[in-house]
Symmetry: C2
Subunit: 225 residues, 2 copies
């Protein structure tokens, strides 16, 4: 198993542009083949575990699992020649860590911006691309944003998170309209302690549910009653 | 690999209720373990093929592949004790066959109504349930219906297909409204040769695209331009 674990983070060494960006958790290979290249975390399936238990166990070695708000199976990568040596089939996962969490990492492991990946091992770059595509799609028809956002947030902060995850600018007013209409987010009734200089204090929101669901069914296709 | 291949078909031995129902392709085990129980088609991954090539090759032994309008990876079933003997991990697929096609089948293989499955081998009943759940979800936010429907159809026929796949009654007028608004279906400009007795001839429709896509993105989240 291999996991693409994403988090929206401030750029580590941003100069003028300090907008948050989507990052992926990678570790640097210390041994050949492809020494120095960067890999997704993961490892071999144990005899007595299923894939999900296994990927959770292996991620726990890299990142505090209390921080992992969403984990789902993605595609299986099964090209016979995807890695040298013995044939290895990789079942991939998408993991999401909410924005303010700062899990401790081992020394060989770092967050990298998805739009500026380092040299990647084997087909791991393709896997990151695939995981991001799935995340982008699911932001459109599910409430999966809860797994990237803080518990409470101003709309401008949520707009930055969606913009980073989608890879393009999103308008905060449109985002509010569509997410409120679909009941994905709810006002908490409180405001941020300090508003932007000169502005009103911003209203705070939370995700209505912190459990993954499709939000966007055709009403006409719902079961009756 | 194991594949849940679905088709909406008339009940083989319906009495009064001749509504079409969602069926799944199963073969009956001739040998132990679980002789006589029904299995999803599939088999072992060959050394020189990836999962998708392998499942296509193995399905071709059961069903004419020209009839397979959609094939996608589903979950991996990896419980260490899911089958007796050597550990076997099953990567599952969803396949869809359009409604009027009548592929020839080998003698051990039959279509069974998903709502009335025969005794199933191992965890294959769970796999059928899982595949159906995915199909139901995707009918809501994609154009996947194209892979179950004829090339041209009256709305009443499409309503029967959606109702069968979803497992509950769908209103034809609501279905038309939502699918036309999302540009999933388009009028052909022609009508069925013979209308229902006493009625006007029914307008014919087709799916706008016969390639799978998500139809239901939040407009606010689309890339600009």
């Amino acid at each position: 198993m291999l996991a693409a674990v994403f988090q929206v983070r401030e750029a580590a060494h941003g100069d003028t542009d300090r907008k948050p960006a989507l990052h992926v958790l990678l570790w640097q290979r210390a041994l050949d083949p492809q020494r120095g290249n960067w890999s997704l975390p993961g490892g071999r399936l144990g005899d007595d575990e299923d894939l999900t238990s296994s990927v959770r166990r292996q991620l726990a070695e890299k990142v505090d699992l209390r921080e992992l708000a969403h984990l789902e199976q993605l595609a299986v990568f099964s090209d016979p020649y995807r890695v040298p040596g013995d044939r290895t089939i990789a079942s991939t996962f998408l993991g999401l860590v909410p924005s303010p969490a700062v899990p401790e990492l081992p020394p060989d492991t770092r967050w990298h911006p998805v739009n500026d990946l380092p040299p990647m091992a084997f087909d791991h770059g393709t896997m990151v691309e695939h995981a991001r595509t799935r995340l982008v799609a699911k932001l459109s028809y599910t409430n999966i944003g809860f797994a990237l956002a803080p518990t409470e947030f101003a709309l401008s902060a949520l707009r930055d998170i969606y913009s980073a995850a989608l890879g393009h600018h999103v308008d905060a007013t449109n985002l509010q309209r569509v997410l409120e209409r679909r009941k994905v987010i709810t006002r908490t009734g409180t405001t941020a302690r300090s508003g932007r200089s000169g502005g009103r204090p911003a209203a705070l929101y939370r995700f209505t549910e912190s459990r993954y669901r499709v939000t966007d069914e055709f009403a006409a296709l719902r079961p009756p009653g």
